[in-house]
Amino acid sequence: MAPGTTASGDTIRVVVGLGSCGIAAGAQDVKEAFERLLGERQLPVTLGVTGCIGACHREPIVEVYEPAGRHVTYAAVTPERAAKIVEEHLAGGHPIEEWTFQGEPLKAEVDAYFGKQTRVALRNCGVIDPESIDDYLGREGYKALGQVLADNSPEKVIETLIASGLRGRGGGGFPTGTKWKFTRAAPGPKKYIICNADEGDPGAFMDRSVLEGDPHAVLEGMAIGAFAVGADEAYIYCRAEYPLAIKRLRIAISQAEERNLLGPGIAGTSFSFKVKIKEGAGAFVCGEETALIFSIEGRRGMPRKRPPFPAQEGLWGKPTNINNVETFANVPWILRNGGGAFAAMGTEKSKGSKVFALAGKIKRGGLVEVPMGITLREILEEVGGGSDTGKPLKAVQMGGPSGGCIPARLFDTRVDYDEVTRTGAIMGSGGMVVMDSSSCMVDIARFFLDFTQKESCGKCTFCRVGTLRMLEILERITQGKGKMEDLALLEELAVKIKETSLCGLGQTAPNPVLTTLKYFRDEYEAHVVHGRCPAKVCKPLLTFSIDPAACTGCTLCARVCPVKCISGEKKQTHVIDQTRCTKCSSCLEVCKDNAVVVK
């Protein structure tokens, strides 16, 4: 049986996407509705599940595979729609075209969304049942591992990885093959592999989707890595906030062990490999490799000086190779298709494809995998469909708290480690948060500083104290109490924090401030000089009033105001007492006549 196609030749197969975002959108209810309806009608239909296909904006998504080969994808399915799908399509044989990706009006949008994508790391996500090893095997799963073990040449594996040009997808961008070579060259009989699944950047969910949608690909990549560097034991360090990913990994590990694809003497060879899961406990700094290692050892996750690098002295002092989830997921594909096939995609120094999580003010949010070298404009406007608010896009934030905001005028920047770095942002792990004119860039800078300030482990003085000082300045500016000297002080602190911090967290923490100061200085000046927030986000700088011409005196605002500062008789114009208004925006949210004016 070919997974993701049909069940058993003559029955229809219905597959519900059960990734975290699908479930959040109601996919579990949809699956239960299908179960109940199919049971009631006794239809010869099998029901399966899969991971996330990436089109989060259209969840819950349901695929229908017919024996004759026809395949349709239903978007935004509800239990009510499920009933109609069962009735008209599964029983009646007529797909409800207007709800499907393949029919109008969605077709053009879906073609734009998937047309520019190249799926390597996500090749099985949304296609296979992640809890079925047979589905994975049916898509050439564990074939690369089998080949690697048959060839029995770790050097050849490393050569292939180097030839592929694969660079660390967690954000660092260090060449993976070279990293493996260092760990292999390190002396000692005991070595470790660690898979970093502590996806800490707010606004990023690439690794979660890969783990939920295709856990075996990660395990296979890790096993190949272990063989190449000479390790026999591994840890997957996964965020505890990802319970579904952890559950599916556990299932995948036990299935692979049953089939002798993990564990002692894999596939009849002398190569043994054991994988354990460690749940993180919530510390952003543990994305840093030395902190992550301390965390696995049961300590506080505080980074240490490098060298020695983990490749020489890592977990319990042994040589350790750390890669992230997406990096490992690429490995089996590279081994099967050759380093050249991967290197054929992308730019001179950034090869292959990269997964991005699109979120924020964008029409088609979700997970996309595109070849390196594509421009930001192509991703945001063609794949993502542009702004979802009708207001023009202003910037995209890349690289999370370590990254920066790239303004719309630089949207022709290509997705390439070095080109993105030149803008002041970083490629990062793949989070892209899109902003339009309703996002205040000073507020965004404050938001990230607030995050890194709380996440600083406290070891380095400038990171611990300097980020707090920067945060205080930014808070002052967003409250309209900033001074022009503050901007220079921010820049000075930023440079010092970068120069004197031990780890990546401190070295990159000022980036969101530096890039917004560089590209959106006018917004800082509007706050400081004119006491105005152009995006109307910074509450202390706003005034709420009621337009007498529009107010119908419906009393809704007066009733919802938490400080009771709105007065007025029924059917009479209402008035806000400015001295008591807390600018909470409750009145604005409830007014049906657009009578609340914000300035």
């Binding site: 975002c21 965390s295 050892e297 049961g298 924020g360 934030q397 989070g431 965004i444 949210e589």
Partner: protein, 166 residues
Amino acid sequence: MATQQEQKLDLGPLDQILATCAKGLEATIPLLQGIQTTYGYLPMEALVRASAGTGIPESHLFGVATFYKQFRLRPVGKNMIKVCLGTACHVQGGQRVHAVTRESLEIGEREDTTSDALFTVEPVACLGCCSLAPVVMVNETTHGRLDAPAVRRLMKKLQKSEKKDA
């Protein structure tokens, strides 16, 4: 380390955790996670007993417990409400959702739990459902694409079902 405000705690479940958990420093985080799963937080009394049972110093357990965000040293309410304040939720109005959640449940300024101990509201960095922002997670269920009125309705519904239970 135990303080007087601790109520008499049933340490039976803890002894079970101690009997099965691995030994050595490596066990620290899984051990604390186990205690928190059982009690909802890390009671001082349990930490003292865990230290005696494993040989891991109290100072180490406390140091690790206060380093990681997951661990709590105070009891939680019956229902856990996690409000996402990740980047995507922030640009889509997550702060407002957080404020309205606290306001609807009448949680005091320096508190995170309602006075009747039914609800705890906790801001989190990212729940990974960025395309559905802003997002709130009530116990195990995620609610997406919220705005202030939707949050008010959701909280009212939760309070109502709690009243029914009582």
